[in-house]
Point group: C2
Chain length 480, copies 2
């Protein structure tokens, strides 16, 4: 049977999660390797997911007053070096242009790994008075961070992202922006990607190069491994001082503005794959799925079947549902497995008997349950099942997160969990980077994910590493 | 008066068109210079124009079955060299990455000047059978062509564009695609940018590196100079042969597919500025204007004025009109000149007397005529004036094109026109590149724009340069 043949081609996630991931990326036609080391080709189906992500997030940004701009893709080396911590963080992973128009350049150009420095240079020109603030800019673009080992979407030398860079008159306002944008990401992950996730503050050791504070969203993948899903940084006035950006405030004194930046990237597609997928392939959250429902006619050669299927397609499209009718001459079994692989949330089957009964069959990609529904109100039926799939995905992620989050009361317990149970570990921490280092070494890679927001658990009074008085609850885990 | 002060700051287009252009780019806050030589910062207002252009064109592409993808921004040097003519055309203007992750790269990477080679490499992997054709891919991205002298939007080392790359089973289908996409550009220029333009085929000398044939759209700017506004290329099977792309056709024989590519860029914003602008600044075509109508309240401190202005804003926004209310404390005169500078197509003035009369004033940015209209049907009134502004812009461009297009019957007349009259010259041509070279040298820069479509004029039987038998009517002109 065609279906079995196709499904056999992907590795089971329980056998080899890494290979399963690669198989899904390839078989669902999301991305392909390119001849350029570490760079991928994002194929039409993968890019359509990214377009839906962009459209959704862009509307959220604009509703909060942000505007899009476009900065150059090159950063003169001297510009990148203006902020000390920042250049130290990025120098090892830069791609550098040394030749332009057949001549060696007098100053080398860095292909942007992130654009704080370019935004600062521009802000210096356009910010003079408190009337010029806040500046709430964002850009959608490609960036390059030279990576040794790469995997499609998760870690590639070039990737697509958005980077917001804002300037504010006061620390309070900038801090509020930092938290607000992390909340935008959290809402987007849950409401659009169907991925509920832990959010919190990065430790000093894990924060962004040049930031005063970094906040993060840390969705858990199906196998218990964390993916840093998005970050939001408060910079204070560090960059503004390095770049000499000042404004005259209402009280007529000259001040440095307070800065933030925040970004999410095509990594989110990796998160979708690993949070929701199963052994039949991808499962796409309905709100960003390029195809929300696929219509598969049964006995399509019989009179009236294709006409009815087409009419149904037009009805659903008119209701704003992203629908595809597959009337190709492939077998129904092949089509079933093909659209399961591609993660289409809902399948609609319609054949001669259904048409005679004024009904059709809806199948959820998550539960595979079949519902026989009337065609009278099919738009609402499909919309309801899309919501149901969304809710099922959220619930599954919540369950996975709960089952794979463990509390460690002391060092021994911590090491035991790290060695034997995949997932997150909640444990107290003294605040010292040395303990983070020690834990990473002892466990072969467990790192602090964040100091979580809104957590009141306190499994111990002392650090789960050194035993000294504890300062924070920390969520720990391995990461992609 | 504030208005005069602002207007004084820009150079008159009749005094110095080049300076006028630069002033408009700066004062309308479209773009700014960056610290990176030859690269610009596209500011929010300029980028919002680009977003509207993208949205409009992208829908036109998708309606014809095209899909978006994302290729790497780097091209390994050996890949760029696979097609001989192509590499010769682009080698002189490449930016080259030689260092990645602190190591000298074993193979240098070209920052893409265009992506034919990357698409071909991918197409080789995914095209095997006639069932895989056509492939109708497009990408929106940044490209780099190292330029010595640059001007914002018109010629920058980095620019934004879309590049369509398609593969077809037959020559006929690929040729039809090439012409179809040029037609898409022509329709878009006229219907969305309000710029009617000449279209036609490039001569052998002027065609794209590696193409069999290049088609072009050549809008005329206000000063009579041409801007190559978009191109569509038919490649035959040249790249497919160089990249060894083959497919098994229905007749079971192995063939090379036929290829096209087509692109338009942020240059279009330059075309908008120079086709429509005047001494008060930018004039934006309503269908891509970020702000279609600006509401400026008179005596806004008086009771009810701002409430009514806000209600009006909400009504217009609900009708799908892009509207801004400026209730800042700047003077009305300052606001008038500010939004004229920014090219907002329609101004709506409302004050206490208007409110008492249930009316307001609409002012066209093109004609500056005032209309007193009732508020009862304001949505339709504003929509009608937006259409009127669009039509006025089209008519003005048509008039400019007609007035500045001259017919040369012989060589003497050609040189006389080229020396004395700005604009296009229609003249016969023998088909030899030598005559194009000679005309360019004699006139200090007049080049063949294209062999125009649908022109039946025949001003002479012989070439306006060499006097030998003529093959084609050619439109000649100076260019940006």
């Amino acid at each position: 049977m065609a279906k079995d043949k196709l499904v056999e081609q992907i590795t089971s996630m329980d056998v080899d999660f890494t290979q399963w991931y690669t198989d899904v990326v390839k078989k669902a036609e999301l991305a392909d390797y390119s001849g350029v080391k570490g760079c991928m080709v994002i194929r039409p189906y993968g890019y359509a997911i990214w377009e839906n992500i962009q459209k959704d997030l862009d509307a959220r940004f604009k509703a909060l007053g942000h505007e899009n701009v476009c900065m150059p893709m090159f950063i003169p080396e001297s510009l990148l070096q203006k902020e000390k911590d920042h250049v130290e963080g990025f120098a090892p992973e830069c791609a550098i242009v040394t030749i332009g128009g057949q001549n060696t350049l007098s100053e080398r150009l860095i292909v942007r790994p992130t654009s704080e420095t370019l935004f600062c240079e521009h802000y210096k020109d356009i910010i003079h008075s408190y009337r010029d603030l806040p500046k709430l800019y964002n850009q959608w673009c490609n960036v390059v961070r030279w990576e040794k080992t790469t995997r499609p979407f998760l870690r590639t030398s070039e990737f697509l992202w958005q980077e917001g860079h804002t300037m504010h008159a006061t620390e309070e306002e900038a801090r509020a922006e930092t938290i607000q944008m992390l909340k935008v990401y959290e809402d987007f992950y849950r409401d659009s990607l169907a991925i509920p996730a832990i959010t919190g503050q990065k430790t000093e050791k894990e924060k962004f190069a040049g930031a005063v504070e970094t906040y993060t969203i840390e969705p858990m993948m199906h196998n218990g491994v964390a993916l840093q899903g998005g970050t939001s940084h408060y910079f204070g006035t560090g960059f503004a001082e390095a770049f000499d950006i000042t404004f005259t405030d209402r009280d007529n004194t000259v001040k440095h503005p307070h800065q933030t930046s925040w970004g999410v990237s095509t990594r989110m597609i990796g998160a979708i794959i690993m949070a929701h997928g199963d052994d039949s392939g991808l499962i796409l959250p309905p709100r960003i799925a390029p195809i929300q429902v696929v219509i598969i006619p049964a006995a399509q050669h019989k009179e009236g079947v294709l006409e009815n299927a087409n009419a149904l397609k037009n009805r659903l499209a008119a209701a704003g549902i992203r629908v595809k009718l597959d009337d190709s001459d492939n077998s129904a079994g092949w089509k079933f497995s093909q659209y399961e692989m591609k993660g289409v949330p809902v399948r609609l089957e319609i054949g001669p008997r259904d048409i005679a009964n004024n009904s059709c069959v809806l199948v959820s990609r998550v539960t595979r349950e079949k519902s026989f529904v009337s065609l009278d109100n099919i738009e609402a039926e499909v919309a309801a099942m899309l919501d149901q799939v969304h809710n099922e995905l959220v619930a599954r992620c919540e369950k996975n997160l709960a089952e794979k989050t463990h509390i460690a009361h002391n060092h021994e317990e911590f090491l035991d969990i790290a060695a034997n149970k995949p997932g997150y570990i909640k444990a107290m921490w003294c605040g010292e980077s040395a303990c983070e280092e020690q834990i990473k070494d002892e466990t072969g890679g467990v790192k602090s994910r964040c100091i979580p927001f809104g957590e009141h658990e306190k499994p111990s009074d002392v650090c789960a590493c050194c035993g000294k008085p504890a300062k924070h609850l920390v969520v720990w885990g391995r990461q992609y």
